[in-house]
């Protein structure tokens, strides 16, 4: 079995300033101070809301056809 390649050291995207930050147990962004978990939760909620709206729009358009 050949030797493995270098496994990437993980980073996490701060949804506040869009910079990647180290996964080192710190709760706030090292660059902008945003609460990383809270910003991630807000981002996911926004994405879910956008998906719901897009689905509703598609359904409405299909109904018109």
């Amino acid at each position: 079995m050949a030797e493995s390649g270098r496994i990437p050291v993980p980073l996490r995207l701060c949804r506040g300033c869009r910079r990647f930050v180290r996964v080192d147990g710190r709760e706030d962004c090292a660059f902008c101070g945003t609460d990383l978990d809270a910003a991630e939760a807000e981002h996911e909620a926004n994405v879910a809301e956008m998906r719901r709206a897009a689905q509703a729009l598609r359904a409405a358009l299909a109904g018109r056809g």
């Binding site: 030797e3 390649g5 270098r6 995207l13 910079r19 990647f20």
Partner: protein, 408 residues
């Protein structure tokens, strides 16, 4: 990443499984050093054939060896690959072995007949080099009219139903023209645009005036982010080379391949990327110099070189302790490992300290400083050679206002 998204990615994108198993997903093969252009930044100083290029039989055997390692994509480069008489046989063999095959070309003599023959042989796509607009391209490529010839080749590729891409250098000459260039290549039908910063190797080491300065990353990255977003909306997929970066507020935007959480995770030379020179020399990345040659397939089987050469393994052996200068104590040191190995080696004489970095430029700027490269040693004049530069740290010059108010 779910299966549907993974299926949508280009085959040369490496996943975690590929890294773990060290699959050379993307193999870049210089099949000849013969070239019909005379580019002022050419890293390999192409022009004449290498003295001892592989024979047809050796090249076809090498195709089988590449396939045995699980490679998915073989990119043929030169020099100018179509100047090799058996280039169509090599393309056909790569396709018969189940791998994707692309051609990177300056396009000067990529005639209708050549494109048709390559398509018939199974070629999947062509990347045409376009470095700035009109006169800028012609000057950098060393041939008046080469810009129009390249554009014509790009349209020809598209007309034959092949995947059409463009490769561009980012340097002091091309940077101001990238926005307009994007309009041109979209109009010509390209769907992929690979951008790489001109590396200070080969002919480019002899022309420091065309190289970007580190502080210009403050201009490069926001521009690329803007172009990436606009390009995607217009059907052009921007692909930054691994010497473009790193981190800063635009990392997610420029490297977004269906997933905003993709980021630069260090040089992948020798892990998922392999470079081959026309005489059978194997390197862990096509751009690397001869010091990084792991062996030659005339003497050793490819698998043995790939799996056992310590030179090929340099990337896996690197630790933060091998870094120096700014990169040694950088916030991203463990992930980035000083970015593109050859960019730092070609500039600084050894790897591990890479001044061509956005995060670094931002940190310097925050302190009112910037870095400037000054050439202190010429390159000896060989293929893939380099000179040496020193970093001068200086205060950011006072910004000149656009208009000076005149009080009468």
């Amino acid at each position: 990443m779910d299966a549907r998204r993974a299926d949508a990615l280009p085959v040369r994108y490496a996943g975690l499984d590929d890294i773990v198993n060290r699959v050379p997903v993307s193999v870049v093969w210089e099949i000849t050093l013969a070239c019909d252009l005379a580019c002022s930044f050419c890293g390999s100083r192409a022009g004449h054939r290498r003295r001892d290029e592989l024979s047809t039989a050796e090249a076809l055997d090498l195709v089988d060896q590449i396939a045995e390692l699980g490679a998915r994509d073989v990119g043929l480069i030169g020099g100018e690959a179509y100047l090799r008489k058996d280039w169509l046989d090599i393309i056909a063999a790569i396709r018969a072995a189940g791998m994707r095959c692309d051609l990177q070309s300056g396009g000067r003599n990529l005639s209708e007949e050549r494109v048709a023959a390559a398509a018939a042989a199974g070629l999947c796509g062509v990347g045409i080099s376009l470095d700035g607009l009109g006169a800028t391209h012609d000057k950098l490529r060393g041939l008046p009219g080469s810009y129009e010839l390249a554009l014509a080749a790009l349209r020809r590729v598209r007309a034959h139903g092949l995947s059409a891409a463009v490769n561009s250098q980012i340097n002091a000459c091309t940077l101001p023209q990238l926005r307009e260039l994007m309009d041109v290549i979209i109009e010509a039908g390209a769907t992929n645009w690979q951008l790489a910063i001109t590396t200070a190797m080969g002919n480019a080491a002899d022309h420091p005036e065309i190289l970007l300065q580190p502080w210009q990353m403050l201009e490069v990255m926001p521009l690329l982010a803007e172009l990436a977003v606009e390009g995607r909306e217009r059907g052009l997929f921007l692909q930054p080379a691994s010497n473009v970066g790193y981190y800063g507020p635009y990392e997610s935007v420029i490297r977004n391949v269906l997933d905003p959480e993709i980021y630069f995770h260090g040089c992948n030379a020798g892990d998922t990327v392999m470079g081959i020179e026309a005489d059978g020399t194997i390197k862990s990345c096509p751009g690397l110099g001869s010091a990084y040659a792991g062996g030659n397939v005339r003497e050793t089987r490819l698998r043995e070189i790939w799996e056992k050469s310590e030179v090929i393994a340099f990337n896996r052996r690197r630790t933060v302790d091998d870094l120096w200068g700014f990169c040694r104590t950088c916030y991203y040191a463990e992930t980035c490992m000083a970015g593109c190995t050859w960019t730092s080696h070609a500039l600084m004489g050894r790897a591990g300290n890479n001044p061509m970095c956005h995060h670094r430029a931002l940190e310097m700027d925050r302190q009112g400083l910037r870095e400037r490269l000054v050439k202190v040693k010429d390159a000896p004049g060989r293929s893939f050679d380099h000179g040496e530069f020193e970093i001068v740290v200086e205060p950011v010059p006072a910004r000149v206002p656009d208009r000076i108010a005149v009080h009468g």
